[in-house]
């Protein structure tokens, strides 16, 4: 299987021209066919990961926000990083929603309530 080549670049928008600069070389983005213009505009000025086609090698096929998180999460099993403290205010807000919708009874919600 051919490997997709990637590089880090920066997106620029000039009028209706969209491009990404990688190693000082500007590549026009095929906006409208493979890439949606509204999505590219959101990335203007940001560092992005640029994906090049296997053939021809200099054809940009996608750009992706560098901040996008791809974590090596394992199927079915929670990685320990997942266990994080929950904001008590948020938990109480969710409890109120559950009581309002009749999913949790008020007396049960009271026992869950944090910070009271």
């Amino acid at each position: 299987m051919a490997e997709t080549k990637t590089a880090v670049g920066k997106v620029t928008v000039a009028g209706s021209k969209y491009s990404v600069t990688v190693n000082k070389k500007k590549h026009l983005l095929p906006v409208g066919t493979l890439i949606d213009a509204s999505q590219v505009r959101k990335l203007a000025g940001k560092e992005v990961v640029v994906y090049f086609a296997s053939k021809p090698r200099n054809l940009v096929i996608a750009v992706q926000d560098k901040a996008f998180k791809l974590q090596p999460i394992l199927c079915y099993v929670p990685v320990p990083d997942l266990f994080k403290a929950l904001n008590p205010e948020m938990q109480n807000a969710a409890l109120n929603v559950m009581v309002e919708k009749g999913i949790i009874m008020p007396d049960l919600a009271e026992q869950f309530n944090v910070g009271r």
Partner: protein, 356 residues
């Protein structure tokens, strides 16, 4: 065979029993009977499953120590079946917690009691299945009336300051409820939510059309989940990989997309309750017998190396940026449903059919 270098293994899944008191519609376990055939099991310890002696508590400790002679083990996930059907589960949790950096028990939550919790290490971590905020939907998917019992369990865990991750298996049956289900997860104190899209296996195939959502429905569901993750600052993981040709997970900036590690240190090799080792918990393929073989002989075997190597023919010309991460989706599901890891993940086929 010469002893190999000491490897690293981040997670090991340990299935302590094949028995279960639920009959979930989407259950992928290869040993599960047909839905409706599952008896309501009393809390007893079976001694033989599938014709082999079930490992005892000392067996599990001995085998985990055996693995640690060959590999640096970080985390253990206890699974099943329903782990709490073993009366010695609290002691197994205690023993195996001493053998690793962290341990989580994957359970349906219905058999956790105050007494059993008291016998477990303080602040134990749990992954518990919740399929819907609507009692009727949850119970229908679980195949048992368990919603109310589950709420009591969540309260118990909350009072004991236990770690809680909610696992929700996404299917057509509960897709519309996802926002409310996630809010319920936050309300009961979940520290994260795992959204596992339904992953097919041989026994689930007859119900696949009822379970697999269309790409459009899945996209809407994930968008709703994305909004909830942002609203509550909740960690949400798409644990079972979503093939990007069905829905591109990059559309949802508050959901963490995960991929099959396909072997190596990130693999979650699975030790069954009779000592057999499999590539992961989804597959019935057996790589070796830990009672008879060394760990490195099993995981470095040709069969183990080749298990994940195949990319389906129809995915080879894929130009999607995530194609190397996806590589045809779940190999175990393809193996279980079509008999070959060279086939595409059956979820893709059923999702496309649902769209059509």
């Amino acid at each position: 065979m010469a002893r190999g270098p000491r490897r690293e293994i981040k997670q090991l899944v340990v299935e302590v029993t094949e028995a279960c008191n639920h009959a979930c519609m989407h259950c992928y376990n290869y040993w599960r009977p047909r839905r409706g055939d599952v008896p309501v099991l009393p809390v007893v310890d079976a001694t033989v499953e599938r014709g082999r002696r079930v490992l005892t508590r000392p067996d599990f400790v001995r085998l985990v120590k055996k693995i640690k002679r060959d590999a640096r083990l970080h985390y253990i996930a206890l699974s099943g079946g329903e782990p709490f059907l073993r009366t010695d589960l609290p002691k197994i949790v205690g023993d195996l917690s001493d053998q690793c950096e962290g341990l989580v028990t994957i359970t349906n939550g219905t058999l956790i009691t105050k007494e059993r919790l008291r016998r477990m290490p303080e602040r134990s971590n749990f992954e518990i299945t919740l399929f819907s905020a609507h009692r009727e939907t949850h119970d229908a998917i679980a195949g048992r009336k368990s919603f109310d019992r589950l709420m009591e369990t969540f309260l118990l865990l909350h009072k004991h300051h236990c770690g809680l991750v909610i696992a929700c298996v996404l299917s057509r049956l509960n897709a519309a409820d996802i926002a409310l289900t996630m809010e319920l997860a936050v309300a009961v104190g979940a520290q994260a939510v795992m959204l596992n899209r339904v992953n097919l296996s041989r026994n689930v195939m007859p119900a696949a059309r009822e379970l697999v959502p269309s790409p459009e429905a899945l996209r809407e569901t994930l968008a709703a989940a994305d909004r909830m993750a942002e609203k509550y600052g909740l960690g949400v993981v798409l644990s079972v990989p979503v093939p990007p040709c069905v829905v591109d997970p990059r559309e949802f900036s508050h959901l963490h997309a995960g991929w099959c590690p396909r072997g190596g240190k990130d693999a979650y090799y699975t030790l069954g309750c009779t000592g057999l080792v499999r590539p992961c918990n989804h597959t019935s393929v057996v790589l070796g017998d830990l009672l008879q073989q060394k760990w490195f002989e099993i995981v470095e075997s040709k069969q183990a190396r080749e298990y994940w190597a195949t990319v389906p023919e129809e995915c080879r010309d894929c130009s999607h940026p995530l194609k190397d991460s996806c590589a045809g989706g779940c190999r175990a599901a393809a193996q279980e449903c079509y008999g070959s890891t060279a086939m595409i993940d059956p979820f893709v086929n059923f999702a496309r059919a649902a769209q059509a």
